[in-house]
């Protein structure tokens, strides 16, 4: 073992490095991530799991148009359903660490251009077939090749070659990417028999539960997959996912015990709900954020003074207090917060400053015509109210901001990424590189702020292959500054996950990477009798 690795292990043991930094660096050194994971095993479970019973979750966002094809999953309900029957190569676990699922070991070449995934032996699908390395390659190919119809298509563009040999899958990249394993945790990439090419909607995977019946937008019922490989998951005999889109009804169902787990508690009523002795409110801060986006290429937002004026004219604390009920944190006009590794917490927090905003507004030479902020109720929860608070604080600074209400219907195709100034949200990504390359690279498909800066792009590409974490952090810090001071993103707040469970539910571990323990709550929780 090299001295450098020994040093890393020593640091890790002292708790100076979180698991993700560790895996990234160890991986870069060509060490298998499984070994790295073994060093940092979670403390033993506090309580002994109870087996049996029917565990029910109530989620929002389900529609009768939903499909079981993981490629087409785009909202909370399909995400939860797919995460219950399917498994990915790896999982993002607590504190943003990587957990091994279908992959048993990960290793990389020293320059992080080649990644090897050792596939777990004896993993069985619900149809009785055995999961193979070929299935993994076929799955990745279905999602990423040129004929793909998948929401994950944009994620792993840099893969030039995929190979399966024995139980090893080898991915070759066109440039080094130290974060690649995290991309494999994407919820679209459920491993399916034959890659799901023949029947993508079969709902057959290798997860802890197999589908018994599925009525889209209503209910999915599951039973335990008898030959599931992991004894530490899948405690209930049966699980159900009920699609309850109305907040009040979902809350009432939790209080009445009709469901045991509840996704998306309205933060405003969380405190009121917590008064109920049968209910526990679970909160974890993650990378998700609510934003207003200005397109830097469209008049009048092509003027950075005007953008600065608007950034200074939003009262962030008021938004966190009133829109998030205090369950969140202020944003700083770049899409990264402490939930990400290599976050620079020394960047000064931008505050509401009406005088400075007015000054920038004067400097911009804007003609005083109304600046239209387009918003729909579905842009994010409380979007219309947030826009009105923004309008009031901006008007107080003499900026003629005006809110225009748009229909929810068609908002994401007609307004978002089209209108020069509108409301939106981002769920966040496990690593900084993925967030930036998804939405802030000049050429990104989802560059919704139309932010074009060659220096920024160059920094991002270099940071991706940079293996020295100190240098990498410095690069990310510079990128954050660029975006904060010249970008088109107004990021007033990061929203916490606020979820509810019945008091009799055991095994809950907060996981900010996604809703309901990143989709694994039904597989990892149990019912105390």
């Amino acid at each position: 073992m090299s001295t450098e690795l020994n040093q890393i292990l020593a640091q890790a043991a002292k708790g100076k490095m979180n698991r993700r930094d560790f895996v990234g660096r160890a991986g870069a050194l060509g060490v298998s991530a499984a070994l790295a994971g073994a060093v940092l095993t979670n403390p033993a479970r506090a309580a002994e799991p109870v087996r049996g019973g029917v565990l029910r979750a109530g989620v929002a966002g389900g529609q009768s148009t939903d499909s079981l094809d993981p490629a087409l999953a785009a909202s909370d309900s399909p995400f939860m359903i797919n995460s219950t029957w399917g498994e990915t190569l790896v999982d993002v676990e607590l504190n943003g660490t990587l957990g091994m699922r279908v992959a048993e070991e990960i290793s990389s070449s020293a320059d992080a251009t080649q990644w090897m995934f050792k596939i777990r032996q004896g993993v069985e699908y619900h149809n009785g077939a055995t999961l193979t390395a070929q299935d993994v390659v076929a799955t990745l190919r279905r999602h990423t090749d040129d004929a793909s119809q998948s929401g994950a298509q944009g994620i792993v563009k840099g893969i030039t070659d995929m190979k399966a040999a024995g139980d090893m899958v080898t991915l070759t990249l066109n440039a080094g990417n130290a974060d690649l394993p995290f991309l494999m945790a994407d919820y679209h990439l459920m491993i399916q028999p034959g890659g799901g090419v023949d029947n993508p909607q079969a709902g057959i995977g290798s997860g802890a539960y197999k589908i018994v019946s599925n009525e889209p937008g209503v209910r999915a019922a599951f039973e335990k997959h008898a030959n599931y490989w992991d004894a530490n998951r899948g405690f209930a005999d049966q699980v159900e996912i009920l699609s309850i889109n109305d907040n009040t009804a979902r809350t009432a169902a939790l209080q009445a015990g009709q469901i045991h787990l509840m996704a998306s508690v309205d933060p405003k009523i969380a405190e009121l709900l917590a008064g109920n002795a049968d209910v526990v409110i679970e909160r974890s801060s993650g990378p998700g954020h609510y934003v207003f986006i200005m397109q830097c290429t469209q008049k009048p937002f092509d003027n950075n003074d005007l953008r600065m004026a608007l950034k200074l004219a939003v009262n962030r604390q008021e938004l966190v207090d009133k829109i998030l009920g205090g369950m969140g944190s202020r944003g700083n006009d770049f899409p990264i917060n402490a939930a990400y590794p290599l976050f620079d917490d020394s960047i000064a927090q931008r505050e509401y400053d009406a005088a400075a905003a007015a000054e920038f507004y004067q400097k911009s030479g804007h003609d005083g015509s109304p600046l239209l902020l387009q918003v729909a109720p579905g842009a994010f929860p409380g979007a219309v109210e947030a826009a009105q608070l923004f309008q009031a604080s901006a008007n107080a600074a003499g900026i003629p901001l005006q809110v225009k209400l748009e229909p929810d219907d068609g908002y994401w195709s007609n307004v978002w990424n089209v209108a020069p100034f509108c409301a939106s949200y981002w769920g966040g990504r496990p690593v900084q590189d993925q967030m930036y390359s998804t939405a802030y690279l000049s050429t990104a498909d989802w560059n919704d702020t139309k932010f074009i800066d060659p220096h920024f792009d160059d920094l991002m590409i270099r940071a991706r292959g940079e293996l020295d974490q100190v240098k990498r952090k410095a690069m990310y810090s510079e990128m954050a500054h660029i975006l904060r001071d010249t970008g088109g993103l107004i990021c007033p707040m990061f929203n916490d996950w606020v979820e509810g469970r019945r008091a009799e539910v055991g095994g809950w571990i907060p996981n900010p990477a996604g809703s309901l323990m990143n989709g694994k709550a039904l597989s990892m929780c149990w019912l105390n009798a």
Binding site: G58, Q63, S64, T65, D66, S67, L68, D69, L72, A74, S75, D146, A147, S148, Q149, S150, G151, A152, Q153, G154, Q201, E215, P216, G217, V218, R219, L242, S243, I244, N245, D246, T248, A249, A252, A253, Q255, A256, Q258, I259, D409, G410, W412, S413, N414, W416, D445, W446
Partner: protein, 318 residues
């Protein structure tokens, strides 16, 4: 042929033509809405390449009219096809959900219609006195609450304060009749509250209108009690407007209860239609839209026939 039978035949034939027109209007409407199915499915995450691939796979690249005519050709042969969004068989999904829609509408209608007419008769009988005012006031208050407020109120009252029922009303195949009835109790109560006032007030107004007529006075002079007069003489002559409003409300119970469906997560047709409109899933929108239209048209024919049968002068036109 009997004139009424002739009328029915004529109206049904016209109704079928109307359905064709409805389907064309729906087609135009959905085409005019911005965005397409592929975009709606993949949402915020879609890359242009993935969008193009999905469009190709769904056959969205064909001209709109071609797609419509193809759909029509198959539909006329009884093949409704599969949903674009998730490939589920449309006829099967609609069959199940329409059953749920009818179950809810029937449960609410069976309670609401007789109750509304009874209350309307009582209010007319005691016109201007306290029973009239009480009935009017209470029903007006229930109708002026937005549906979801009434729904939340009932959830609060009957699942939290007095835990009699459950807030989530979804029903599944395999549940017994009584289980289903228990599941839909809350939505039924809310729907009854919502439709009661309209029918009750129309009954009252129509009866009062007829009560001015000379033959009512004759009947009163014969010594009949006020309730007998209303029941035997006034009601039959007030049937047309009452039926007209009852039918509007029944149609509403079938096609217009999407808010109640959403609040109680009830898996019926309204929500199914709304979801597919949002996704621009034309085959499903067409199928459900035409079913709804058929319900409307059918109920309207029924109302017109009852109106004619009830009025002797219309029954035997000169």
């Amino acid at each position: 042929m009997h004139p009424i039978l002739k009328l029915v035949v004529q109206r049904v034939a016209l109704g079928l033509l109307l359905l064709l027109a409805v389907s064309f209007v729906l087609f135009l409407g959905v085409e005019m809405l911005p965005g397409d199915t592929a975009q709606a499915i993949l949402g915020q995450r879609a890359t242009p390449v993935a969008l193009a691939n999905l469009r190709e796979a769904l056959g969205l690249n064909e001209p709109a009219l071609t797609r419509y005519l193809k759909w029509l050709f198959h539909a006329l042969q009884g093949d409704l096809g599969v949903a674009l969004t998730n490939g589920k068989d449309i006829a099967q999904a609609i069959g199940q959900r329409f059953g749920n829609t009818l179950f809810l509408a029937t449960s609410a209608g069976v309670i609401a219609v007789p109750l509304a007419i009874m209350l309307g008769l009582i209010a007319a009988r005691y016109n201007g006195r306290w029973p009239d005012k009480l009935i009017s006031g209470v029903t007006l208050a229930t109708i002026s609450l937005p549906e979801f407020v009434a729904a939340y109120f009932m959830i609060f009252l009957l699942t939290q304060v007095v835990p009699l029922f459950q807030p989530v009303a979804m029903v599944f195949p395999g549940m017994s009749f009584w289980q289903k009835l228990h599941a839909v109790a809350l939505p039924v109560i809310v729907l009854v509250m919502v439709v009661l006032a309209h029918m009750m007030r129309m009954t009252r107004a129509a009866i009062l209108n007829v009560m001015q007529s000379a033959y009512i006075e004759t009947a009163e002079l014969k010594g009949l009690t006020p309730m007998q007069v209303i029941w035997r003489h006034a009601l039959p002559n007030a049937v047309a407007p009452i039926i007209s409003v009852v039918v509007i409300n029944l149609a509403y119970l079938v096609v217009g209860v999407v808010v109640v469906e959403v609040v109680f997560s009830y898996n019926a047709l309204g929500q199914y239609l709304v979801d597919h409109v949002a996704k621009r899933d034309l085959p499903v929108v067409q199928a459900v839209g035409i079913l709804f239209a058929a319900v409307y048209i059918g109920l309207n024919i029924l109302a017109d026939v009852i109106g004619i049968v009830a009025n002797p002068r219309l029954r035997h036109p000169k």
